[in-house]
Amino acid sequence: MENLIHLENVSKHFKVLNRREGLGGAFLDLFSRNYRTIKAVDELSLDIARGEIVGFLGPNGAGKSTTIKMMTGVLMPTAGSIVINGMNPFSERVKFVARIGVVFGQRTQLWWELPVRESFKLLKEIYRIPDDVYRANLARFEELVNLQELYGQQVRNLSLGQRMLCDIAASFLHDPSIIFLDEPTIGLDVAVKAQIRRLIRALNEDKNTTIILTTHDVGDVEALCRRIVMIDKGKLIYDGTTAAFGKLFGSYRTLRLMCREGEFDTMDALLPSMREKFAISAIDTQDKENHWYDITIDQDHTKLSDVLSWALNTLPVKDVQIQEIKTESVIAKVYAGGK
């Protein structure tokens, strides 16, 4: 397969001011030269082939955005080399960005006060899109998600989901070879999420567009990506298929139990026996001040329903929740032995 993106030992270090406390400290900081270095990205190497959809996962502040910014030519790496589309994104930025598309879920590239159509027309000029390509792409969006009725509306009057669909369509207008999607489904409802995933998958298949997707939504990853790259503290901690990744955390669930007021002693006394009885992996009391106990259950060994019914019968439980395992816990597992 053709190698489109090549990152070799890429690092990005930031100098950050060590801030002092209080008002006086804030004033002293104005003259401070006391910096420390933060390694936002640390010796990252990665190869991505044409047509792949790769999911970038990692907790907030893991270095995902910094990596994306370096791959899009906005930030210069402190060390290492990046070659994408045969170009150095930073030093050949203007030429480079003509062949990529970028969507940030929290920002828009559309003109706020104008109908969507005007923004599309401007993009047509900026990227010098030929008429036939432009018309064919619009027709394709039309087939997939029915954008026609949105073109005449002012962007400020669109719902978040409608705007996101238009933003994604806009990024595909000039047939880029790579699209960077940063949390494209953030804050959207299930129906719109499904529409957005359909649009992304279809456009990937049509043009063999490479897609880099960062998200916190496991659903996005499962629906779109065959490959997952996980970054934590600037380092690559997992790079493999979505299926293998799923095995790593898919069977885990967190059972949250809320203790009744004033019965913590009973709860604390009974938990060890529960742990023994059901071979519980972990009991987390981090959120105890809100009366919550987080119990991690491996469904390959333990039936969630057994634990639940036992807990409801035996423990002083006021409320329960069942959650998918948190990204942080997955990372802990990856560290513990996944890689």
């Binding site: 910014k69 203007v94 960005v97 940030f104 828009t108 002012q154």
Partner: protein, 269 residues
């Protein structure tokens, strides 16, 4: 090039989106003209010769009023908030969306600024001119005056944009331009002849001011437009100096922007 023309067009369209905004802008500038009228009337009434005959610093009441009211109209025309736009984009990080485009950010902002000025011209400046020349009955400028004025105005608009752009770029470093932008407004208002015709300043100050770019933003176009005698040679000379200033400040602001952006993208941000 066509892309930048479209940006100008989009900006004009954006300006017309908020009708109430335009209405209040017109009311405000009409009020400003009225205020100017009464302030300067008071000055001239108190001068020997009265409102009809007094000549203060070589200017009659009609000339003075025409100058200051047009200065106010010009001020509204050239106010495009480029510095505050950049301030917002840099603080929110939205500026990154421009970095992903195969276009030049400075040219983009300049097109934006021209579009805004064109919108202002149609929605506010022309109505103001109608008030000044129609309602207050100021004498209409000659054809030659108007022609030279148009050239000088183009230079003034460019200079205004460049100063805004420099202040906006400063936001890369300071993350807030509140004080700096206010300072810029005051310096330009005071040293450009936007508030008071330069003839009213003391000789010593004026001799310093001619070496600064600011008088070429307001004093030059307005003195051309309000001159009672055509003086093409002097005007052309003024426009020539203005052009030199445009080139110098353009080069400086571009270098400053590139340096700031490089600092940011190399060191992170």
């Amino acid at each position: 090039m066509r892309a930048y023309l479209m940006i100008i067009a989009n900006c004009i369209k954006s300006t017309f989106t908020y009708r109430a905004h335009i209405l209040f802008q017109i009311l405000t500038s009409a009020l400003m003209i009225l205020v100017q009228f009464f302030i300067w009337r008071a000055v001239f009434v108190a001068s020997p010769g009265g409102i009809e005959g007094a000549v203060v610093r070589g200017m009659s009441f009609d000339q003075t009023f025409l100058y200051v009211s047009l200065a106010a109209a010009l001020g509204v025309l050239m106010r495009t908030w480029t510095d505050w736009d950049m301030n917002g984009q840099i603080r929110s990080g939205d500026i990154i969306m421009f970095m992903f485009k195969p276009a030049d950010y400075m040219k983009y902002m300049f097109s934006n600024s021209i579009g805004f000025m064109a919108g202002n011209l149609i929605s506010i400046t022309i109505p103001s001119a109608i008030v000044i020349f129609g309602f207050f009955g100021a004498p209409l400028p000659g054809v030659l005056n108007t022609l030279f004025f148009a050239f000088a105005l183009a230079g003034s608009c460019t200079l205004t944009f460049l100063f805004d752009f420099i202040i906006g770029t400063t936001c890369f470093w300071t993350m807030s331009i509140w004080g700096i932008s206010a300072g810029k407004e005051v310096i330009i208002a005071f040293l450009s002849g936007a508030l008071i015709p330069l003839g009213f300043y003391p000789e010593a100050l004026r001799s310093v001011m001619v070496w600064l770019p600011f008088p070429y933003m307001y004093n030059l176009p307005l003195s051309i437009l309000t001159a009672s005698k055509a003086n093409p040679l002097v005007w052309a000379q003024g426009i020539g100096v203005q052009l030199v200033w445009v080139i110098v400040i353009l080069a400086a602001s571009r270098a400053y922007y590139r340096y700031s952006l490089r600092k940011l993208t190399v060191n992170g941000g």
